[in-house]
């Protein structure tokens, strides 16, 4: 079943979509990408996600999975042969802690570690990916810099390390386009 076709329905500016893309790339899973236009959603999207009508949607072997946090867990469980690419801890307690932070979405607890689960990227890091890239245009628009080396040093360092990772660096929306998009959205 792992070999069946994988499709991602997404939107180029969505941090939620990127979480899914990063997870698939980290697992080495090949997928087709379909860009959705929100003013004209595809028939497939409406069929696959009739409840929320939103992206991301992961379609695996013709079957849809929706909600980014649900998709991330699905990816982790389906492509689980290689322990080197596991994105959640193997210990049940550590997993419950990771799920708490994925769920929380605002607070940060990095401690002295490079990434949330140690030295490797995991699902918690992907969930906070928006901070590393999507906060920038918002800060620029609002004129307030919250995330700086002197204000939130550990988190700031995390965004540097995060964006340095090849899978992330090579898979980010263009900053200028994102700023334009964010500006338009706020009008």
């Amino acid at each position: 079943m792992e070999e069946s076709k994988v499709i991602v329905h997404g939107f180029w500016a969505s941090a939620y979509v990127y979480r899914v893309i990063w997870a698939l790339k980290l697992k080495g899973v090949k997928y087709d990408y379909i860009e959705e236009d929100f003013s004209n959603k595809s028939q497939s999207l409406l069929e696959y996600n009739p409840v929320h009508k939103k992206v991301p949607v992961l379609v695996h072997g013709g079957r849809p999975v929706v909600e980014s946090s649900v998709i991330l867990e699905y990816i982790e469980e389906t492509w689980s042969d290689d322990p080197l690419t596991s994105l959640l801890p193997s210990d049940a307690y550590e997993r419950s802690v990771a799920r708490f932070w994925i769920d929380f979405g605002q607070h940060v607890a990095l401690g002295g570690k490079k990434f949330f689960d140690g030295n490797r990227l995991g699902l918690v890091d992907l969930s906070y990916g928006w901070l590393a890239h999507w906060l920038e245009p918002i800060q620029e628009l609002v004129g307030v810099k919250v995330l700086e080396p002197n204000t939130l040093p550990r988190l700031y360092q995390w965004t540097i390390d995060f964006k340095h990772e090849p899978v992330i660096k090579d898979n980010l929306p263009d900053s200028k386009a994102l700023l334009e998009h964010t500006t338009r959205q706020r009008k």
Partner: protein, 221 residues
């Protein structure tokens, strides 16, 4: 080494009930501690410093927070003790169960809260929203015995704990769930036949009484 399991909870919380229900399904013995939300215990504040909310499951001194995370944790830790699994083993079925549990929390809680705290047009909107969500859930249930299929599972755990709140929602909103969603009420009755469910849920009238106290205290009359 014997497991030490403690649950910090309040009797009327539909979230706390999920933890109680999962523990009962898996046959786990635990110590129940009732929290007074107006005067939270030092243990609660220490174990859930981020949200300061119940339920909190404390397993051998280590806290697990958020009801659905607690249920998954219980299912994973005690998976080999000959009790039924709450989550399916197939990743796709698991994703479906997680989706509906997430849907319940995103949509039902908010509509229910508005039903209990608003008046006039806002109340009518809340009622409409609430019934719409239940109808979607009823459609998802379809002809199955449970949301999990043949067996009671994660999706059932997520929703059944709202059922003892139906009386309160119906009274505040002046409507009947049974009238709009008869199949869903059949599912509720089916679940209530399970001992783990009936002993984990609270008395609907007692829940309503606690809502009245809350409404009076916060001026929602």
């Amino acid at each position: 080494m014997a497991d030490e399991v403690v649950l910090l909870d309040t009797f009327f919380s539909m979230f706390g009930m999920r933890a109680r229900l999962a523990l009962a399904e898996k046959g786990i013995e635990y110590e129940y501690k009732e929290e007074n939300l107006g005067d939270k215990s030092p243990v609660l504040l220490e174990m859930n410093p981020v949200h300061k909310k119940i339920p909190v499951l404390i397993h051998n001194g280590k806290p697990v927070c958020e009801s659905l995370i607690i249920v998954q944790y219980i299912d994973e830790v005690w998976k080999d003790n000959n009790s039924p699994s709450l989550l399916p083993s197939d990743p796709y079925q698991k994703a479906q169960a997680r989706f509906w549990a997430d849907f319940v929390d995103k949509k039902l809680y908010d509509a229910g809260r508005r039903l209990c705290t608003t008046k006039g047009d806002e109340l009518e909107t809340a009622k409409k929203d609430f019934i719409e969500v239940l109808k979607l859930l009823e459609a998802e249930l379809g002809e199955k015995s449970y949301f999990g299929g043949e067996n009671f599972g994660f999706g059932d755990v997520a929703l059944i704990t709202y059922s003892n709140w139906f009386y309160s929602y119906e009274t505040c909103g002046n409507f009947s769930v049974e009238e709009h969603c008869p199949k869903l009420m059949e599912w509720v009755k089916r679940c209530m036949e399970k001992e783990s469910v009936s002993k984990s849920l609270a008395d609907p009238k007692k829940i309503y009484d606690s809502i009245l106290v809350f409404k009076k205290k916060h001026g929602f009359e």
